[in-house]
């Protein structure tokens, strides 16, 4: 604080930095994670809770970058198996069409439904809000605010929880019951 007062430019710099920080905070999605105490059949350890959510949100960032830049290799650190294959195919199709899709996730409401007995898979649902923008030959053809549900299966691979199945649209029964309550 003292240097800011003594340096007139620093006085200007602080609000700019603050604004940049607020802008960054506004850009990052709002995330709500339901308690995992009742998840079974295996109990979710504290470290797993943290890394699972971090890795899943990073997967969304990676997906956004991969689709915006039409670079399927960006998916590799966070997606595996069917999810990676399907997303990579879509990106290659986009490339062929000259289309880009921009996904900007705004909110996640995450609930873990299942942690397998041997600890090799976790199923979660995520009610996601995001903006999707479609560009054709670099020109925006439309944007849309979307609120939908994702059902995701993650498996531990190479020290991360990687997304193996990534399916949107249909709300599973357990989530409907939870929402009704």
């Amino acid at each position: 604080m003292i240097p800011a007062v003594s340096n007139p430019r620093a006085g200007l710099a602080i609000p700019v930095v603050l604004a940049a920080m607020l802008w960054c905070a506004a850009e990052s999605p709002a995330v709500h994670v339901a308690p995992m105490d009742a998840v079974g059949p295996r109990a979710v350890e504290e470290l797993t809770k943290t890394t699972l959510v971090q890795d899943y949100l990073h997967a969304w960032q990676a997906m956004g970058t991969a689709f915006e830049q039409n670079r399927p290799e960006v998916l590799q650190p966070y997606f595996v198996g069917t999810a990676r294959d399907q997303l990579s195919t879509t990106i290659r199709n986009q490339q062929a069409l000259g289309v880009q899709t921009l996904y900007r996730d705004r909110a996640h409401d995450i609930r873990v439904l299942f942690y397998s007995p041997e600890g090799l898979s976790i199923q979660l649902t995520d009610i996601v809000e995001f903006e999707v923008e479609v560009r054709d030959q670099g020109k925006t053809v439309g944007t849309r605010h979307v609120r939908t549900n994702y059902v995701v299966l993650l498996t531990p691979t190479e020290g991360k929880w990687k997304v193996r199945i990534f399916q949107s649209g249909v709300l599973p029964a357990a989530r409907v019951v939870a929402a009704a309550n």
Partner: protein
């Protein structure tokens, strides 16, 4: 504040879509043919985007757009944009719809762990089954699944359940009989059941009751166990270490011997008055008070 703004934007978008003339059905089954009517006239581009599929079509406004069975096979939430050509005097339109999985199980991913375990282990093996349709979409509606464990003698145990959000799981005991067991997951309803099989090796447990005998052999004593078995009567594998110990006033001698054809044998110095004992791991066998073979 952000939540309120978000809800407001979403509601506004829904209202705009309700007034749109681009009428997609709210849900379409994966791989199903369907058609969508358009209004207006002139050329336009129809974009359908979702993370799992992207389509672009040239269409004529006022005509019906037909989708054949192979067009949309991946389940998910899709957004459609109908963009008239620049010379057309009609506004752009948009819609959202879901492609849903086919409600018929075509494949099962079955994970059985561990692949090797001791016999008679309660809840020792777990099986998790995920059910998918013919396009490998995850079926989230409940589907019947039965798990069956058949041991090497043909005796089987089964459990029936149904998937919850696309997943069914079970924990089962390993059988009492060592050998190769078959662990099956059967999903769907007869006669179109889908079966996945995993092989599980059930190995004998720890030795249960070790008995040895001692015979004089010149100036030494020959020690030999009976065939070593686990508590279910399965022969303990060759190579399992059996420890013979001879204790006497002058000290203690120990010999480790691997099982060979189910039996461990060795020779130790014959010391009258010594105590001979046998063990494997934490399991103790019988003791013999050696009188020198007299």
């Amino acid at each position: 504040m952000r939540l309120a703004l978000s809800v407001l934007m979403w509601t506004a978008a829904l209202n705009a879509e309700a007034q749109s003339a681009l009428r997609f059905p709210p849900a379409v089954e994966a791989g199903a043919a369907f058609s969508v009517a358009t209004s207006g006239s002139g050329p336009a581009s129809l974009y359908i985007v979702g993370p799992s599929q992207v389509l672009r079509r040239k269409v004529q406004l006022g005509e019906t757009v037909a989708f054949i069975a192979s067009d949309l096979q991946i389940a998910g939430h899709y957004v459609a944009f109908l963009i008239p050509a620049t010379n057309a005097n009609v506004p752009a339109e948009r819609a959202q719809f879901d492609v849903t999985p086919v409600q018929h199980v075509a494949t099962v991913s079955f994970l059985a762990k561990p692949s090797r375990l001791p016999v008679s282990a309660p809840n020792g093996i777990s099986g998790v089954a995920y059910v998918f349709d013919v396009f490998h979409n995850w079926i989230l509606q409940p589907k019947p699944v039965s798990f069956q464990m058949t041991d090497s003698s043909g005796r089987s145990e089964s459990r029936s359940t149904s998937t919850s959000n696309g997943v069914a799981w079970v924990k089962m005991n390993s059988s009492a009989k060592a050998g190769i067991a078959q662990f099956d997951a059967v999903a769907g309803s007869a006669p179109e059941e889908i079966k996945e099989n995993r092989v599980v090796q059930e190995v004998p447990g720890d030795p249960c009751n070790i008995r040895m005998s001692a015979l004089p052999s010149g100036h030494r004593v020959a020690l030999e166990t009976e065939p070593v078995r686990d508590c279910s009567g399965n022969p303990v594998p060759d190579g399992t270490i059996v420890t013979f110990t001879e204790s006497h006033s002058g000290g203690q001698s120990t010999v480790d011997v691997p099982l060979k054809r189910g039996i461990a044998r060795t020779e130790m110095p014959s010391v009258p008055g010594s105590v001979l004992s046998v063990a494997s791991g934490v399991v103790m066998g019988n003791e013999i008070h050696w009188s020198g073979g007299l």
